[in-house]
Each structure stands twice: as structure tokens, then as C-alpha cells.
Symmetry: C2
Subunit: 326 residues, 2 copies
């Protein structure tokens, strides 16, 4: 089986490809070839037991999407996207990559005519306030960012082109992924990961919001498992509704901190510095707190059920934590 | 004030322009110039008290949208669309006109930089089964046709570009418009109009579905009034939710026929011939039966409250009924 991953240099794309090199299969079907594509050339996973092709190209450039699907991949994981903050700051780039890029890919697949599986990475950013405390499965999409708008449109295109039979699409709405490995960043959501990741490394972290902030999380490990499961799932079960809220864990910042204390001790938690930022508080107050993900759960998608699990997954998966580099 | 109407040769576009020629104003603001655009050259309304420019051009062709907005219209009524049946039969044409055409128009407005009002004609086709008996205001869009998908995407683009401040957009979801003047057509929804229109002219009409079929209607007159109201409304009231379910009348086919008997007599009703068509029954069974339109109602949008009103509006507005042509 041939696999294409767009956005393969991103955190989830990279982890998915590394895990694929270990597992070798999606469902019961072995992988023969993996094409990893991104604007930056992705690093091929070490010791992959199948052919790996790493490409650097922009999916919104003419002819690129066609070249990606020229060898007729059986499953396309479309993860490539300009992130939320950048899509908001750069209107043209966001629409070019996140909307036109997706349109180009879907059109290239339609023209290729081989009807692959497409797994489309969507996001809880398709929801914006006002919404109920738990967002129902049938709730209207009300994005309040251009990124959320572009993801919502991608969902609709995926559903219609699947209905038409041009490909077999499934869209999965990722929770906020936490704990993200790597360095602190300036994204409004960055503190959710840094208040766990930095103290675990003995470093201070800034908490800009109140402890009663509640949000919807899954670990990078759960996100990778969503992708495997979406690639193997029998999609006839979905009927006309091909987009699924992924399961997640609804937790407050206070619960996150209490979990960190349990896993790593109270001294660790003292590294979290409270520096309220009204701007970040306002942005985060508009984010989803909990989603009904019962359809996805019934189809076998699984996420963590406690924040301690999320922290332990991070510690296990990022074994270099606290170790000097190199 | 300068007005642009795309799709001005369509039934609603034509009636809107004719009414505009009578009323001369939108809200309290007088109209100086009306540009009517369509793929077929629209007929200018007789005796318009303002300049009328009628253009034949395809909004999805390069440069056309730019030419439409070159004189910086204050209000743009974007009604142009390939209808549902055609968008389903011709994938490329539907996406080209209904999606790319809308994208071109919005982009041309963004580039022009003058921030006009845009009134976007959407449709209850954004909803598809399964849904509750009354579709709530916050219900997920679940289109089951390419037309409904294209309208849904137009709604999302309108909302995001309005939020960005490129224009001041409002989207209105029309009920099924009934009674449509003109000749019977082969659209699955055609019988809703023909079972009223044809008997009123002493002609037979075919009813292909059962009398318990319930659907959501407004008259052409109500539709025109929606457009006037949407052009004049203060949009700050909408917040981030710029798309409104238009009010309508939920009626069964049996209620429609009973109303026709009251307005035109029982002999008239005998002209309706029952010829069940399982295909049409199946399609129509998937359509919305009733929508919560309380947001639009609170903002002053009004539709008919009985089917007799709809029939009487048809008789008044189509005065040539039963008279020989010419």
C-alpha cells in the first residue's frame, strides 16, 4: 500500500510517519511506500522497512498536488496547513495553503480517478462561541478565525466529493494537542503545553490564564492513533456524515496542574508562574471546553481519560526530556 | 446609492429589480444606479426612475467580477447560481459558478477596498437529513447535494470576510419559493408550484407525492421583501452569526390543496392528478419540513403565515394569469 502524508514535517506528521515505520501496517494492510511532503523537506524516519520519499513542495503551487498523487497513493493523509495564528496574520497565505491547497489536492485526486482514502485533519477551531458547555455532534460550525473557516470549508468539500464517489474521505476534528514537545511558542494555546513540559525539564513556565479555564485535549500519541484508525476504518458506517469530533479529555488548568503535582511532585508545580494576560484569557475563553464525541467513540477512536495519562504519555514518548542534547 | 444584482435574469432577481424600480429606495436610501448582471442579458424594468445597466457575463470568467464591482456598488445582491439540479448533473459547472464565482466576487470586493454591503442568497439546501422535525438555529449544515455544499461554503466565506472587515455581509437562507410563475419544469420541487399555478389557469397538474409531505415555503413576494430588508438592516445586531434562516410557512401538500380549494373552489382542485413517483417522494422526504427562524423574525423579516396568503399573493402578482398572452 502507498501512503502520502502532506504536512509530514509538522509535529503530528513526523510522529505519524515514525510510528508507521515501526508498525509497518495501517489496519491489516502493509505499507510499501511512504511519500512525505511538506514545504520544508521532512526527515525520513530511521530504519523504515519500506521505501520513503521525502519531498519539499508547496501544495498550493500549480502542478504540485498532481505530482503528489501521480503514483496513486492508496491513503492520503492531508495534514498540511498554515497554523491558526499565521492564517489570521496573513490572509492570503492562509487561504492559499489551507483552502486552495486543499482544493488542488482534491481536484488532483478527482482527475487521477483512482478513488483513494483521504484522511483530512480538521480542528475544533471550526467551533466558536457562543456554544453550549458541551458542543453536541449536530452543532453548527461557527468558526471565528480564518483557519477555522478554511478547515470547515475543507470538511464540506471532503463530504461532497466523497458523496460523489471521487474518493473515500473522512475528516477528523483534532482536540488541542497537549503536551506538544519542543520549545515554548507564542501561540495563544502555547501555555497549555509549556506549563507541563517546561517544569518537567526543571524550567519555569508562564500561566497567563485563570485555573478555571477548561479546554479539550488529546496527546500527540492519541492524535497519531486517530490517524491510524481513520486510515483503517470501514467508512460505510459513517453514512453521509464523514466528519467526526475526535474524543478528548476535558480538563481545567487547575486539574492539569494537580495532575502534574501527582506525576512529578509539588516542587515541579512551583515552576509555574502566574502572569495573567487579559488578551490570552479573552481568546481562550472563546474556545471549546468539551465536545460530544460519541460517534467517534462508537467507531473505536480512543483518547486519554485522565490528564495524568497525557503527562505520562509525554514523558514516555519524549525520552530525551531533561537529557543534554547530542 | 449604486446597486449590483447578480443573477438578475432569474425569477427572484427580476422581481427584485422590478420592485426596486417602483420603490426607488432600499431602506431610506434612494437608488441612483442599478447594474443587473446575468449570463443571459437581463431585461431592465420598465420606467425605472434611475439608471439601469444590464450586462451579460459569467461571473466565473476571469475579470468579470472585477468589472462588476469597478464602479464600487454600495450594495451587492449576489443571487447568481446554477440551480440545484444542474449543479448535481454538471459537477464542474456547479463548482465553477457557485463556488469559484462567489470566490471571485468576494475577492474582487476585497481588492476594490470600499467595503460594501453584500447580501448573499443561500438556501435551505444547506440542510440534509437526518435532522429534527424543526431544524434549530444552531443546527449543523449537512448538505446532501453539491448545490447545498456550494451555498454552505459561500456562507462561511461571507462570514469570515465580513469578520475581517472586507465587506459587510449578510446571508439569507431562502425557503422553497412557491408559487413560482411560469411553466412547469422538471425540478423535483416543481410540483409544489405547479399544483397551485396550473389549476388556477384551468390546467391539469401532476402531484407525484403523498399529501402528508411537509415543506417550508415563502412566496416570491416575501423573497423580494427579504432582499430589501437585508439591504437596509443594521448588521451590527448579527454579531458573528451573519447567516439567517428566513421565516417561512410550514405546510403539508394536503394543506396546500385545502387552501387552493378555499381560494379557487373545489372544481379547481380536481385538476390535480395523483401520479405517485417513488423517486420524487424519496428526494422530497429528505427536505427540511420546518426551520426555527426566530432570529430573522426578531430582526423584522416576515413571510406569509397561511398558504391562502401565498396563493393570493401569486394571483395578485401574476395578473396575466388566465389571460391570453400579448
Amino acid at each position: 500500500m502507498k501512503i502520502l502524508v502532506t504536512g509530514a514535517a509538522g509535529m503530528i506528521g513526523r510522529k505519524f510517519c515514525e510510528t508507521l515505520a515501526e508498525r509497518r501496517n495501517i489496519g491489516s494492510r502493509p505499507v510499501d511506500r511512504l511519500m512525505m511532503a511538506d514545504t520544508i523537506k521532512p526527515a525520513a524516519p530511521a530504519g523504515a522497512p519500506f521505501e520513503v520519499i521525502a519531498l519539499s513542495a508547496d501544495i498550493s503551487d500549480p502542478g504540485v498536488a498532481e505530482s503528489f498523487v501521480a503514483d496513486r497513493p492508496d491513503i492520503i493523509y492531508h495534514l498540511a496547513a498554515v497554523v491558526s495564528g499565521e492564517a489570521e496574520a496573513d490572509f492570503d497565505k492562509g487561504y492559499r495553503v489551507n483552502l486552495s491547497g486543499t482544493q488542488h489536492l482534491f481536484e488532483a485526486v478527482r482527475q487521477a480517478g483512482h478513488r483513494p482514502r483521504i484522511v483530512f485533519a480538521s480542528s475544533i477551531a471550526v467551533f466558536g462561541t457562543p456554544f453550549p458547555e458541551t458542543i453536541p455532534e449536530d452543532f453548527a460550525l461557527t468558526p471565528l478565525t480564518s483557519y477555522g473557516t478554511q478547515k470547515a470549508i475543507g470538511e464540506f468539500l471532503l463530504a461532497d466529493l466523497s458523496r460523489r464517489g471521487f474518493f473515500d474521505g473522512i475528516g477528523i476534528r483534532f482536540p488541542t494537542i497537549c503536551v506538544r514537545p519542543g520549545k515554548p511558542n507564542k501561540a495563544a494555546s502555547g501555555f497549555f503545553s509549556s506549563i507541563i513540559r517546561e517544569p518537567l525539564q526543571g524550567k519555569p513556565a508562564v500561566l497567563p490564564v485563570t485555573e478555571d479555564v477548561r479546554h479539550w485535549f488529546a496527546s500527540p500519541r492519541a492524535a497519531v492513533n486517530f490517524l491510524f484508525h481513520a486510515g483503517a476504518l470501514e467508512l460505510d458506517q459513517l453514512g453521509s456524515r464523514r466528519i467526526l469530533n475526535m474524543p478528548g479529555l476535558s480538563a481545567t488548568v487547575g486539574e492539569m496542574i494537580a495532575s502534574l503535582a501527582k506525576v512529578a511532585g509539588v516542587e515541579c508545580v512551583k515552576l509555574i508562574q502566574r502572569e495573567p494576560d487579559p488578551n490570552i484569557q479573552r481568546i481562550v475563553d472563546g474556545w471549546a471546553r468539551r465536545l460530544d464525541a460519541s460517534r467517534a467513540q462508537a467507531l473505536g477512536f480512543r483518547a486519554e481519560t485522565s490528564f495524568e495519562e497525557i503527562i505520562k504519555a509525554h514523558i514516555e514518548d519524549e525520552r530525551s526530556i531533561g537529557k543534554p542534547k547530542g
